[in-house]
C-alpha cells in the first residue's frame, strides 16, 4: 500500500442540497470578468442603427451621401444592401426595412471608426417618410377597415391557437357560480443590466464568428444564416459573459444580422451595442394579452369548467411573444383540476412593439387571471357556505399520478403540501379573516393577505425535435475535470450546478471542475436556456457523463485492487473501498496509471441526454415536459389608501423543487424571479402612445430597487422527481409567475378592489380607491 493512502479513511459525504458558491463569482466581484459589452477586437468598427422612430410609414427615399462623406465612416447600408431573407417565428421580419411597421424599425446602419462617429453619421442620414394610419391595439387590428400591417397576413391575423376538452355547455349548466372577467396584462420588458450587443467577425474563408448574448447558440446559427446568405455550418457562436438575459435573447433580432452584414461588407469586425434608450425601444417585450376568463364552480366548491379567450397584440413582427398560448393553454389548469376546458387565442398584427420570450412565458399572464378567479370563488364559498378557503383550494388541487386534459402527466405532484405549508407558515386563514373585517373600517393604512398558485413545466419543454443536451467530460493526469456542455451560462448559475454534480460523482472538489460552454465550435448541441430546463436537462447529462467516467476509473482500479468495481467508490480525491472508505489509491495516480500503460485508458466520455418527454404536435397537446412543478405564494401587503402605494411586506412561498441541489443558488433564483413578478405587479409598465414608447428610461420605467423588496420566507417541498438529477426539478420561472396575483389578491383583501389590469401602480390604486369611495357614498 502506498504511503499516502495508509490508514486513510474517507467517509461518504454529499454535496447535494448544500450551499455552493458560484465559481464565476470572484472574477465578477473584482471586475475581471469580460462581458461582451467590454470587448474590443483589433481593427474593430462600431455599428449603429438608424431606427424609424415612427410607427407606420412608407419610406420614400433614403439619402446616405452625407453620412458616407463623414470622416471615419466605412459603410452605410439600407434594405437594398441586405438579402431579402427573413427573421422571426413566421419569417416576417427583416434586418433592415423597406417599409416602417413599428417605432423600432431598422432603416439604415453605419459602420465607423468610433461610436461617436457612428452616432454622428446616423444623424446625417436623410430619410423621407410618408406616414400611414396605424393600428395600435389588437381590437383595432381586427376592424374591417383596419390598415393591413403585414402583406402576407390578411385581416392582420397572426398566430392562432385553440384547445377544447369536454362539453362546455353541459359544464356551464352544472355550475352554481360562474365568474366572467377580462384581465388586461400589460407590456413590460426585460431590462437586462448589460444592454444588447453583438460583435461579428468574418475570416478569410467567409466563416462568421459572432460574439453574442444568445441563449440558444445552436439553433441560433440556423436562424441567423439565411439573413446573411451563408450556411449555418459557417457560423461560430461565442458567448462571452452577459449582463442578464431572462428570455430576451431566445431569438435572433435585427441588430445581430446587421452587425454581421456590416462585418461581411467591410471585412472588419463590427460591434453593435445599444444604449439604454435603444434597449428600451428595441428589445422584445413580454407578450401583452387581454384574457377573457370564465370559470365555473359548484356550491360544494368543485371547479366545473374554464374558458379562456385570449386576444394578443402581436406588434409588427412575430418573435416568441405570440407563441405564449402554447404554455397558456397548458397552465390555464393543471394546478387545479378543471374537467372541461375551452381555450382560444388569437394574435393580431399592429404597429406596436413586439414581444419575445420572457421568464414565465405566457404563464405570468395566465396565472394573473386564474389565481384571481380562485380567490373570488374562495371568498364567495366562504361567505355563502362557510367553506374554509384552503379547503376549497385543496379540494381542487391536482394530485400525483393525475394526467391533465392537456396531457401533462403529474408524476410527483405536491401542490397540496405547498398549499398547507404556505398557509400554515403565514397564518393565512386567520389573517385573511381579520383583514377582511377591517377592510371597511376607517383608516389610512390597510393590510391584506393574498394567495396564488400555479403550475409550470419543470423538466424542459419538447417544442423542438430534441430537447436534449450534449456533455463531454474529460479528466487529466492531475484529476482535474473539464466538462464541455451545450448548456449556456447566462448568470443563472448552471456552471455551479454542473461542477457540483460532477464533483458529487467523481469525489473531486467543485473547484477542480472547469466548464467549457461558450463556443459553438466546441460544445455539443443543446436546445438553449429556456423553459426552466437547464438544471434538469444539462444536470442529467453531466451526471450521466460523470457516472460513465467513474465506471471507467473503478473498473481499472478494481483490477489493481483485486476487488469488484462495485466494492469501490470515489471520495475526496481517492479511490476508496465503498464499505469503510479505506483509501486504495489517490485518484490522480490512478488516472496516470491508466493513462501511461501499453494500452492507454484515458478518461474522455460523452453523453447526450434526451428527456423522456413527448414532442409537441401541431395541437401542442402532449406530455411535453419530463416534469411539472407547482408553487404557492402568499403575499402580505400594506396599502396606503391616500397615496395608493402598495408595500409588499412579506412573501411566503412554497414550491416543489423536486430536490434541492445548490441551496444557495436555488434561493437566489427564487428571490430574483420574485423581483421580476413584483415589478410586473406594482410598477413596471411600458407606456405607448400611438406605437411610441413614452418612458424609455429607468427614471420612468420603474424596476424594483432594494427598498421595495419584501421579506421572503421560502419552503422548498421535495417531491423527489424520478427523472430529475438527484430528484431535482427546474425552478426558475414559477417565482416570477405566482407572485403578481398573490399581491393582487392581497390588495383586494385590504381594499375590496380587484385589479384586473396590472400594474397596481400608486396612481391606479389611489384612483380606484377614490372611485370606490365615491360610489359607496
Amino acid at each position: 500500500m502506498a504511503e499516502d493512502v495508509a490508514f486513510k479513511h474517507i467517509e461518504k459525504t454529499s454535496l447535494i442540497g448544500k450551499r455552493i458558491k458560484k465559481p464565476d463569482a470572484p472574477a465578477k466581484a473584482i471586475g475581471k470578468t469580460r462581458y461582451i459589452n467590454d470587448m474590443v477586437l483589433p481593427q474593430m468598427l462600431y455599428g449603429k442603427i438608424l431606427h424609424a422612430g415612427r410607427p407606420h410609414a412608407e419610406i420614400i427615399s433614403i439619402d446616405t451621401s452625407e453620412a458616407e462623406k463623414l470622416a471615419g465612416v466605412h459603410l452605410v447600408i439600407t434594405a437594398k444592401d441586405t438579402p431579402d431573407l427573413k427573421l422571426g417565428f413566421v419569417k416576417d421580419n427583416a434586418p433592415l426595412k423597406s417599409k416602417v411597421l413599428c417605432e423600432r424599425d431598422e432603416v439604415a446602419a453605419v459602420a465607423a471608426e468610433s461610436e461617436a462617429i457612428a452616432a454622428a453619421a446616423i444623424k446625417l442620414i436623410k430619410v423621407s417618410y410618408k406616414d400611414l394610419p396605424g393600428v395600435f391595439s389588437a381590437k383595432d387590428g381586427l376592424k374591417k377597415d383596419a390598415p393591413q400591417i403585414q402583406e402576407n397576413f390578411p385581416g392582420n391575423k397572426s398566430l392562432k391557437f385553440k384547445f377544447k376538452h369536454g362539453d362546455l355547455a353541459e359544464a356551464e349548466a352544472g355550475s352554481d357560480i360562474i365568474l366572467d372577467h377580462v384581465f388586461n396584462v400589460h407590456y413590460v420588458t426585460h431590462c437586462c443590466m448589460g444592454t444588447s450587443c453583438a460583435i461579428a467577425d468574418f475570416d478569410h474563408n467567409g466563416k462568421l464568428t459572432i460574439y453574442s448574448q444568445t441563449q440558444y447558440p445552436y439553433n441560433y446559427k440556423m436562424d441567423l444564416a439565411p439573413a446573411l446568405g451563408i450556411d449555418p455550418g459557417d457560423i461560430r457562436v461565442i458567448q462571452p459573459t452577459t449582463g442578464g438575459s431572462f428570455g430576451a435573447k431566445l431569438d435572433v433580432y435585427p441588430y445581430e444580422p446587421v452587425a454581421a452584414i456590416l462585418a461581411q461588407k467591410t471585412g472588419r469586425p463590427v460591434k453593435v451595442l445599444f444604449d439604454r434608450e435603444e434597449e428600451f425601444i428595441n428589445s422584445p417585450t413580454r407578450q401583452p394579452a387581454a384574457i377573457h376568463l370564465r370559470t365555473g364552480c359548484t356550491s360544494d366548491g368543485i371547479l366545473t369548467f374554464r374558458s379562456a379567450d385570449v386576444l394578443m397584440d402581436n406588434g409588427a413582427y412575430t418573435s416568441w411573444g405570440p407563441t405564449v398560448p402554447v404554455i397558456m393553454m397548458r397552465t390555464v389548469s393543471g394546478h387545479y383540476r378543471v374537467p372541461v376546458i375551452d381555450f382560444k387565442a388569437q394574435a393580431v398584427y399592429s404597429n406596436n412593439a413586439y414581444a419575445g420570450s420572457f421568464r414565465g412565458y405566457g404563464n405570468v399572464q395566465m396565472t394573473y387571471a386564474t389565481a384571481q378567479h380562485m380567490d373570488m370563488f374562495a371568498e364567495e364559498l366562504s361567505e355563502k357556505h362557510g367553506m374554509d378557503p384552503i379547503e376549497f383550494h385543496l379540494k381542487n388541487a391536482q394530485k400525483s399520478g393525475e394526467v391533465t386534459p392537456q396531457k401533462s402527466y403529474l408524476r410527483e405532484c405536491v401542490l397540496a403540501e405547498c398549499l398547507t405549508t404556505a398557509a400554515a407558515a403565514s397564518d393565512y386563514v386567520n389573517k385573511h379573516k381579520t383583514y377582511t373585517e377591517a377592510c371597511t373600517e376607517e383608516g389610512r393604512y390597510k393590510r391584506g393577505i393574498g394567495l396564488a398558485s400555479s403550475i409550470h413545466n419543470a423538466g424542459g419543454a419538447k417544442i423542438h425535435k430534441s430537447d436534449g443536451c450534449g456533455t463531454i467530460l474529460k479528466m487529466d493526469d492531475y484529476a482535474r475535470v473539464t466538462v464541455i456542455t451545450g448548456a449556456s451560462e447566462i448568470g443563472q448559475g448552471i456552471d455551479a450546478v454542473i461542477s457540483q454534480i460532477v464533483s458529487e460523482e467523481l469525489g473531486v472538489p467543485p473547484e477542480h471542475v472547469t466548464l467549457v460552454n461558450n463556443d459553438s465550435d466546441i460544445g455539443p448541441w443543446d436546445v438553449g436556456v429556456h423553459a426552466s430546463r437547464t438544471t434538469f436537462i444539462a444536470g442529467n447529462g453531466a451526471k450521466r457523463a460523470a457516472i460513465k467516467a467513474k465506471k471507467q476509473i473503478l473498473a481499472a482500479a478494481s483490477k489493481q485492487a483485486n476487488v469488484t468495481a462495485e466494492e469501490l467508490d470515489l471520495r475526496g480525491g481517492y479511490v476508496v473501498q465503498d464499505k469503510d472508505g479505506a483509501a486504495v489509491i489517490r485518484l490522480d495516480r490512478m488516472l496516470r496509471q491508466m493513462h501511461f500503460q501499453p494500452t492507454p485508458d484515458v478518461v474522455m466520455v460523452s453523453d447526450y441526454y434526451e428527456p423522456n418527454s413527448e414532442l409537441e404536435g401541431k395541437d401542442h397537446i402532449s406530455d411535453h415536459s419530463a416534469a411539472y412543478s407547482h408553487a404557492v405564494h402568499i403575499a402580505e401587503v400594506v396599502v396606503d389608501t391616500y397615496t395608493g402605494e402598495v408595500k409588499v411586506e412579506k412573501v411566503t412561498m412554497a414550491q416543489d423543487v423536486g430536490r434541492v441541489i445548490n441551496r444557495m443558488g436555488l434561493e437566489a433564483q427564487m428571490e430574483g424571479g420574485l423581483a421580476f413578478g413584483l415589478g410586473f405587479a406594482l410598477s413596471e409598465e411600458m407606456i405607448f402612445e400611438e406605437g411610441r414608447l413614452l418612458n424609455p428610461s429607468f427614471r420612468d420605467y420603474k424596476v424594483p430597487t432594494a427598498p421595495e423588496m419584501p421579506e421572503i420566507e421560502m419552503h422548498f417541498i421535495e417531491s423527489d422527481c424520478e427523472e430529475g438529477p438527484y430528484g431535482a426539478k427546474g425552478i426558475a420561472e414559477l417565482p416570477t409567475i405566482v407572485i403578481a396575483p398573490a399581491i393582487a389578491n392581497a390588495v383586494y383583501n385590504a381594499t375590496g378592489i380587484r385589479f384586473l389590469n396590472p400594474p397596481m401602480s400608486p396612481e391606479k390604486v389611489a384612483r380606484a380607491i377614490w372611485e370606490k369611495k365615491q360610489a359607496d357614498s
Binding site: 464565476d24 473584482i30 448589460g194 438575459s245 423581483a675 429607468f698
Partner: protein, 166 residues
Amino acid sequence: MKKHAITLTVNGEERDLIVPSNRTLLDALRDDLGYTDTKYGCGTGECGACTILVDGMTTINGCLTLAATMNGKSITTAAGLARNGHLHPVQEAFIENDAIQCGFCTPGMVLKTISLLDENPRPTEAEIRHGLEGNICRCTGYTKIVEAVQDASRRITGSNVSAIGE
C-alpha cells in the same frame, strides 16, 4: 471641441490623458484607460452600474461626471480594491453570500457598499436598502445583496479593517 489634458490616479496608478470637454468619466475609464470593470447601465445616473469611489469614500456616477472636471482626483474601481492579494471584505461577502448572478451590477454595488459602510459601519437593514436604492440589480432581487452588506459590516467592524481595506 476643446480638449483637456488631465491626470487621474486610478487604483493607485497615475494616468495622463487628453479628453474632449464632453467625455464622461465613465467613457474615459472604460474606453481610454481600459477600466472596463466600471459598467455602463444607463448613462443617465439611474442605475448605479458606473459607481466609482473618488478620493477615498465618496461615490459618484461615472456616467454623469465629465472627465475634464476630475483632474488630479484619485479614483477607485472594483478592480482596485484588493490588497496584498486579498479581496476586500465587501467583495468576499458578496461572493460568500451568493449576491452575484450575472454580475453586471456587482462592481457598482460593491463600491456603493464600501462607501455606505464607511459612513455607517453598522447599518440597519432599512438603511442598507435605502443606501442601495440608486443601484439596480435585475437578477438577485436584492435579498442576497443585503445579506452580503450585513456580512461585510460584521467582517469590517469585527476585524477592525478600515472599509477601504488598507
